[in-house]
Amino acid sequence: MRFDVTPDALDTAAQQIRQQSDSLGQTPSAASLRTVPAVNGALELVDDLLRADLNGARRNLSSIAEALTSAANTYRSNESAVALATRVAP
């Protein structure tokens, strides 16, 4: 995999991470499943667990994308400063 360290490439990578996060969708709900009570109770526990873990995974992906976007903005800002300094230099 090629990884370019340019603001646009970093933004693109962040966008891809966000799309990947969206692709996770939602965990299916076990709430409507009719089973014997012993299985139903245990399944509800696992259902809650999977939902919580999926939400946690989304937050992590958002954090990763945020790091890429932040880096892109910083580099973009630095490029502007360099360009400005070049123009005003004697």
Binding site: L24, T27, A42, L45, D48, N60, L61, I64
Partner: protein, 483 residues
């Protein structure tokens, strides 16, 4: 075939195997997506190492590493859940198919037996029965009885196999949940206590409302004071700001203000605390600017899941018992000010589901040997309180009853078979806002408590609690079966 089926009037094989397989299919889709995302995140992080260095690169790779590991865990959990449910769906479908087949065959045997019995009765009552025919019919009757017994035995075996599948499915799900919840189930008499921090979705403050005071200061100047509260970004508790704008107009003949109105604006910012009381103009009286303004609201929710297990020794039972609880609690409160005075409402609710099981050696008049029992129970509790302050004084109501001041009593308690739930609402005086939601789980006691204290500076207090005693539940459950 419709109508009566032998063996049981209830469905012993509850469930929809097709719906379970659909659920498994959805789990697999999420699992695939999770695996792909985890791989993609790791690939990007590895690829970045060759060309990207510096603090930003390190930060990105740290977050990528933190993010990829839970995704891989999630993928494994989805895989395991899908396997467990798929196995259960297979066992259920088989049990339902075979169970119905056995029941149908038993029904046919019953119908045939009735017909043979009728033939036998007719032959016997004819006055001159044919011994050979009677003997033949009796043999056929005997064959049908044997067939019914055989089918009954097959059905019982099938039911026992299915119950074993239920037990192993439940155990596998419980194990998955316990491991994922990072519970240490190895200790004896272990007690796990958790105090989840409730998430405030809004914080007490004036919100969209506005308070106005008018009066005079010590010099006879006219003073108008406007108090406005705003909540922080996104309804977060942090960043509540109270703005107090005081406008003083000089009284006629006053020397102190040079004949001009003076406006002073002060902002108070607070982090998670209720804004301070604004300075009152002396001799000021409070007036309502509009008919009714919501001056404060707060709500919180918390959910907790825990499990524990321990060795236990009872009168007839020695072995291992375990308990898992899934508890949820909610709290909310709001207050408004109007021409009639101030009113506040507050409510809390809590629910808990307890799964208990025990396995070990039993000695009783009915059963001797190794057993495994399971029970699932739930409880809910709710409490509401209304509080009003008007020119006639303080009044508070709970469930239609009226109380005046002080602490008011509890209601709605139940205690049955080791499960207790109660609601309590009270009225106190104080300031500040606090939502306290706790869940405590041990072999001796499972309790869920939601407490919304001292709301809105007016003094409302409501709480609910649920108590479940796993040992008692286990013993009561065992008693049902004569263990």
């Amino acid at each position: 075939m419709t109508g009566y089926l032998p063996f049981t009037s209830d469905d012993p094989f509850v469930g929809d195997a097709g719906a379970l397989r659909d659920y498994t299919h959805e789990l697999r889709k999420t699992q695939d997506a999770s695996a792909k995302v985890a791989a993609a995140v790791k690939d990007v992080a590895v690829a970045s190492e060759a060309s990207w260095v510096g603090d930003a690169a390190q930060e990105f790779r740290a977050r990528a590493a933190d993010g990829a590991a839970p995704l891989e865990t999630l993928t494994a959990q989805l895989d395991e859940t899908a396997k467990i449910i798929n196995d259960y769906a297979t066992a259920l479908a088989l049990a339902q198919y075979c169970g119905r087949a056995f029941a149908n065959q038993a029904h046919d045997a019953l119908v045939a037996r009735r017909w043979i019995q009728q033939q036998l009765d007719a032959a016997t009552w004819s006055g001159a029965p044919d011994p050979f025919a009677v003997s033949n019919l009796r043999m056929q009757l005997h064959d049908q009885d044997n067939e019914s017994t055989r089918l009954r035995r097959r059905f019982d075996e099938l039911q026992a196999d299915f119950e074993e599948s239920v037990s192993s499915t439940r155990a596998a799900l419980f194990k998955l949940w316990s491991l994922a919840s990072r519970l240490d189930l190895s200790g004896k008499s272990e007690e796990l206590i958790e105090n989840p921090k409730p998430k405030l979705t809004a914080y007490p403050g004036l919100g969209d409302g506005k308070g106005v005071r008018k009066g005079t200061d010590g010099h006879g100047n006219h003073v108008e004071q406007v108090t406005e509260d705003t909540t922080g970004l996104g309804g977060n508790a942090k960043g509540t700001t109270r703005t107090v704008t005081t406008t003083t107009k000089p009284a006629a003949g006053s020397r102190g203000l040079s004949g001009r109105a003076v406006t002073k604006k002060v902002d108070y910012s607070h982090d998670g605390k209720i804004p301070p009381a604004d300075p009152k103009p002396s001799t000021a009286k409070k007036v309502a600017e509009s008919t009714k303004v919501t001056v404060a609201s707060a709500s919180g929710t918390a959910a907790s899941s825990r499990g524990t297990k321990a060795e236990t020794q009872g009168k007839n039972f020695g072995g291992e018992a375990h308990a898992g609880v899934n508890a949820k609690a909610k709290a909310n409160a709001s207050s408004s000010i109007g021409a009639d005075g101030i009113t506040a409402t507050a409510g809390v609710s809590a629910s808990a589901r307890l799964e208990v099981g025990a396995s070990g050696s039993v000695t009783s008049k009915y059963v001797n040997g190794d057993i495994s029992v399971h029970a699932s129970v739930g409880a809910e509790a709710e409490a509401k309180a209304n509080l009003g302050i008007s020119k006639d004084g303080l009044n508070a109501g709970i469930d239609g009853k009226v109380f005046v001041g002080g602490e008011v009593g509890a209601d709605g308690n139940i205690d049955l078979g080791g499960i207790g739930a109660g609601g309590h609402a009270g009225v106190t005086y104080g300031i500040g806002a606090e939502i306290d939601i706790k869940a405590k789980v041990s072999l001796n006691n499972v309790s869920v408590k939601a407490d919304l204290g001292a709301t809105l500076g007016l003094g409302g207090h409501v709480s609910v609690n649920i108590n479940i005693h796993p040992k008692e539940v286990i013993h009561n459950f065992a008693d049902l079966f004569g263990l």
